[in-house]
């Protein structure tokens, strides 16, 4: 075998993603042999360090896995531990949790749209750079993000690693009067969010298609956020690129306690990073999956905005599989979260007590919620004193990594087929492809520092 | 004839009168602040009606411990000092002193802060706290340079004192001669009376505005039964103080025990967390903070509460002067009980007991004073022997 024409493209540090990762592409001639996403986020061993901790601690401790979606961790942990203890939190306490989660969706998705992803579409390095030409759009994004943070700060005490979440509910619940000013902020935010949907709908989107199975929680009657049943929408059987709006195949569900049977982690030979597979196939979680599975439950306002933005109608079982257009779906989700937060505030009545008691008992519990980046699963096993004896955390990025690598391979291949791109062009393309899925790299519970395989393409 | 009596001295109001008092004070453009139950404590906050007063609530106090307890007599003021004091309003935790702007050629324009301050009416000022306000008056407005931020708030404040009838286990105002009967300085003074004749308040005016407010109140002439009931309740309170100070000249005691062993003992317990100074109604120390905006051309000077328990409080270029916790606790106690006299002509302690209650580890300034006194006695005896 010849070495001629083979090259290794190495993107040292991916920017505008949370956490740290690098990418290694191996090419032989014009064939992409490997696309490997190397996470050099140092391992932090959360699953190990949770062992021996009190069952009350996972919400605060796992929050520290990710500064960009701490509520997702807190609430997944709460649900899993409460499940182990046989406690269900419902009524206004559940509504407040959803409100808090809406805050995180607004903040986190807006950060992603305006500060991390939009610059790609407009040929800019950063939001700050973008502000030179699109100041009002950046300012709107910051305003919207701030509205999300305002919810987090009011309910949680602070936007990053909120302090008010506890098993069974909250340490303190707000009064109606305290929530009222929030509604005023959110009314403005709703206009901003709608404007952002229109803004991103005007971007230029390359043709692209991903054929992974889609996984999201679903909850009949609502756009699942803080609870639901794992639901799979399999990839269409037919191969080849298809325009947006394919008919969705029927979905299937599985019970959350069987999550570990369906979503299986394994090591791939070329990498030390753990990958997850869903029933043996690559799968994708996150906005595209949610929109496909729960889109019909969006609020009328959000749904109309989605249709106006050119997304296919989820009520007609239409699916968007173009990862570049995920930015539109995220914008729609922000609009929905603002709308939903307003609904929750309007129907708020302070619960009698801020939290229901959660006494410990031995057993295993499961919890899953829809983090902004996709389905986040926690499982804890407790002993009789409430000490955690085992913990499993499956963050969305771990699940999406295989799908991202496949997208990378496919996009690079398409690009190579279309001509001879420079390394710089390929680098830019790869970064965009990754940012399409907003990998939350710091969810490092499962990621390793890669030992780069330098054997090269000629082996 | 009765009208004459009412104008000249005292009157009686009932529970509705308390409501009316709040309304009248509010109608005079005042922000009424009084005790109310919140977060499991009787705190001081803006109130808009008598219903917000802590009727039927009392407190159980011990060193390092505060518990709200229900009372069956429905009294509004049968509680002693709570987690805050009036300095929160007169000498607020954070104040902008001035701002400065720099123009292109480097010229600086300084503007004193003139944010309007509320005209307060304080309802339920205990006699110890009334004295504390007088102490802070001397500190902050008594010298060559008045603290204008304090003065503006203080000058506009209307003080409704309430005599103490329910001292806590940590109270020692009798030792400090600040209560339980009210001293001078109030606009109105109330004494809450609950007996077979009903729930009522004996009211006296201590100022022109106090008299004017009293005249507006729906009241009746004070009867001798109410007067004597009020007198008796206050006198009984004096006998029920939970704590006492040693019966010596505390100023001298502090001066003569600067090297006492006892300071080492208290230091082993003290967390230097600063709580005692923050809750103390006379502690006045502040520090300033200079902030700039991102342009760098607008600067502000803020000041906030500070405490001698902060290591950085005495920071000089080589480090803190009072580095050891021992020296910091000693500074606080000797200042409060001793050198305050040198600096401001009175004791800095009014015997409210807050520092005892709100110290997480329950360090008790009266106990420390007794221990210092005993230690001094021992060493004097040794010298004599």
């Amino acid at each position: 075998m010849t070495h001629r024409g083979s090259r290794v493209l190495h993107v040292g540090s991916l920017s505008r993603v949370e956490g740290e990762s690098a990418l290694r592409l191996n090419l032989i001639g014009d064939r992409v042999t490997h696309a490997r996403l190397a996470i050099y986020e140092p391992p932090r061993f959360f699953e190990a360090l949770l062992r021996g901790r009190s069952y009350t601690e996972p919400p605060d401790i796992t929050s520290r896995i990710c500064g960009i979606c701490p509520v997702a961790y807190q609430l997944s942990a709460c649900r899993a531990v409460e499940d182990a203890c046989g406690v269900v939190v419902d009524g206004q306490l559940a509504a407040l949790r959803r409100l808090l989660y809406c805050g995180e969706w607004i903040e986190s998705q807006t950060l992603h749209i305006h500060l991390l992803h939009a610059p790609d579409f407009l040929g800019r390095d950063s939001a700050i750079d973008l502000a030179r030409t699109h100041r009002s759009d950046v300012e709107r994004g910051l305003r919207l993000k701030q509205a999300g943070n305002t919810i987090l700060e009011l309910l949680g005490g602070r936007a990053i690693h909120p302090v008010n979440v506890r098993l069974g509910g909250f340490h303190r619940v707000p009064t109606v009067a305290e929530l009222r000013p929030l509604a005023e902020t959110l009314l403005r935010a709703r206009d901003d969010a709608a404007q952002t949907v229109r803004w991103v709908a005007g971007f230029e989107f390359p043709d692209a298609e991903c054929d992974h199975d889609l996984l999201a929680l679903s909850e009949p009657g609502t756009y699942a956020i803080e609870s639901g049943t794992p639901t799979v929408m399999p990839a269409p059987r037919t191969a080849g690129p298809r325009p947006d709006g394919n008919r969705a195949p029927p979905t299937r569900t599985f019970a959350l306690p069987t999550f570990g049977d369906h979503v299986v982690e394994h090591q791939v030979p070329h990498s030390t990073a753990l990958h997850s597979r869903l029933d043996g196939r690559r799968h994708l979680t996150g906005s595209l999956a949610r929109y496909a599975i729960s889109g019909r439950w969006l609020s009328p306002l959000a749904l109309q905005a989605a249709l106006d933005a050119g997304l296919a109608d989820p009520r007609q079982a239409a699916v968007c599989r173009n990862p570049f257009r995920s930015i539109i779906v995220r914008a729609v989700e922000v609009l929905y979260a603002v709308d939903e937060a307003l609904r929750l505030i309007a129907s708020y009545e302070p619960p009698l007590r801020p939290a229901v008691p959660v006494p410990p008992r031995p057993g295993t519990g499961h919890g899953a919620t829809e983090a902004p980046r996709g389905l986040l699963y926690h499982r804890y096993t407790l002993d009789a004193r409430g000490t955690v004896t085992d913990a499993v955390l499956v963050p969305p990025t771990a699940q999406n990594q295989g799908a991202i690598e496949e997208d990378l391979r496919r996009q690079v291949q398409d690009r190579l087929d279309a001509g001879d791109p420079t390394d710089a062009a390929l680098t830019a393309l790869c970064e965009r492809v990754i940012r399409n899925h907003d990998p939350c790299i710091s969810c490092s519970a499962h990621f390793l520092d890669l030992t780069v395989d330098r054997a090269g393409p000629a082996r | 004839m009765t009208g004459c009596e009412r104008d000249s001295a005292d009157a009686v109001i009932d529970k509705d009168g308390m409501d009316a008092l709040i309304t009248i004070l509010a109608a005079r453009g005042r922000t009424v602040v009084g005790p109310t139950v919140r977060d499991g404590a009787i705190i001081l906050a803006e109130i808009s009606g008598g219903a917000e007063l802590p009727y039927g609530w009392g407190v159980e106090l011990e060193a390092g411990r505060y518990r709200l307890v229900a009372r069956d007599d429905g009294a509004a003021f049968a509680h002693s000092a709570g987690p805050q004091s009036w300095k929160t309003f007169l000498h607020p935790p954070r104040v902008r002193e001035w701002s400065a702007d720099r123009d292109a050629d480097g010229t600086i324009v300084v503007t004193a802060d003139d944010t309007p301050v509320p005209a307060y009416a304080f309802l339920g000022v205990r006699p110890c706290d009334l004295r504390a306000i007088a102490v802070q008056d001397r500190v902050l407005t008594g010298g060559r340079y008045g603290d204008s931020a304090y003065r503006r708030r203080r000058d506009g404040a209307f003080l409704v004192a309430v005599e103490c009838t329910e001292p806590g286990a940590t109270c020692f105002c009798v030792s400090m001669e600040t209560g339980p009967a009210v001293g001078p300085g109030y606009d109105l003074a109330l004494t809450e009376v609950l007996d077979g004749d009903g729930h009522r308040f004996l009211v006296r005016a201590g100022s022109g505005e106090g008299a004017a407010v009293l005249a507006e109140l729906p009241s009746r002439a004070a009867d001798s039964a109410t007067r004597s009931a009020a007198r008796d309740r206050v006198a009984e309170a004096a006998d029920r103080m939970g704590r006492t100070m040693p019966l010596v000249d505390l100023r001298t005691l502090m001066r003569e025990t600067l090297d006492a062993e006892r300071w080492n003992d208290v230091t082993s317990r003290c967390l230097t967390c600063g709580n005692c100074t923050m809750v103390c109604p006379t502690c006045f120390c502040t520090t300033v903070e200079d902030v700039t905006d991102l342009t760098g051309d607008h600067a502000e000077r803020w000041r906030h509460w500070e405490s001698c328990f902060d290591r950085d409080f005495t920071h000089v270029p080589t480090g803190p002067v009072r580095d050891s916790p021992r020296s910091r606790y000693r500074q606080w106690a000797t200042h409060k009980l001793g050198t305050w006299y040198d600096q401001f002509g009175s004791s800095g302690c009014v015997g409210c007991g807050r520092c005892i209650v709100w110290c997480p580890v329950g360090i008790d300034i009266t106990e420390e004073a007794h221990a210092l006194n005993r230690e001094r006695g021992r060493s004097t005896a040794q010298e004599a022997g």
């Binding site: - | 920071h315 000089v316 270029p317």
Partner: protein, 152 residues
Amino acid sequence: MSVVRHGFLGALAPGHRDRLLTFAREACFPAETRVFEEAGAADRFWLIRSGLVALDIHVPGRRAAVVETLGEGDLLGWSWMFEPYRWHLGARCHAAVTAYEFDAEPVRLACAEDPAFGLAVTRCVAEVIARRLKATRTRLLDLYGFPGGGTP
């Protein structure tokens, strides 16, 4: 005369002072004179009446470093009092110096013969040493030096 009123002699009781002065003779040193060398035989001492004397230490490769200066009223030299009677430092006149000069041996003998006189002289010398030690230690603090950063 201030040299009598204070300084070394001022610390002696009049009787002892007069006795000590019986051993004295007048001495003058022009400026720049080296009075004694480090490690040299300490067989004399002086009470400075005027002028300035620098005490120095020889450092190889450097000019002798002045560690202290002595002036009017000061005792110059105490190494004569203790074995092995060698100078700890060198001494050099900055400016012309007038002094009372004493031979060490007769003074030491007188001290040995008259314990009261001996104790008085020894105490005075010890006091001088103590004061110089204290001043040296204070200087070690580098009081006027950089306080090491910090605010303001």
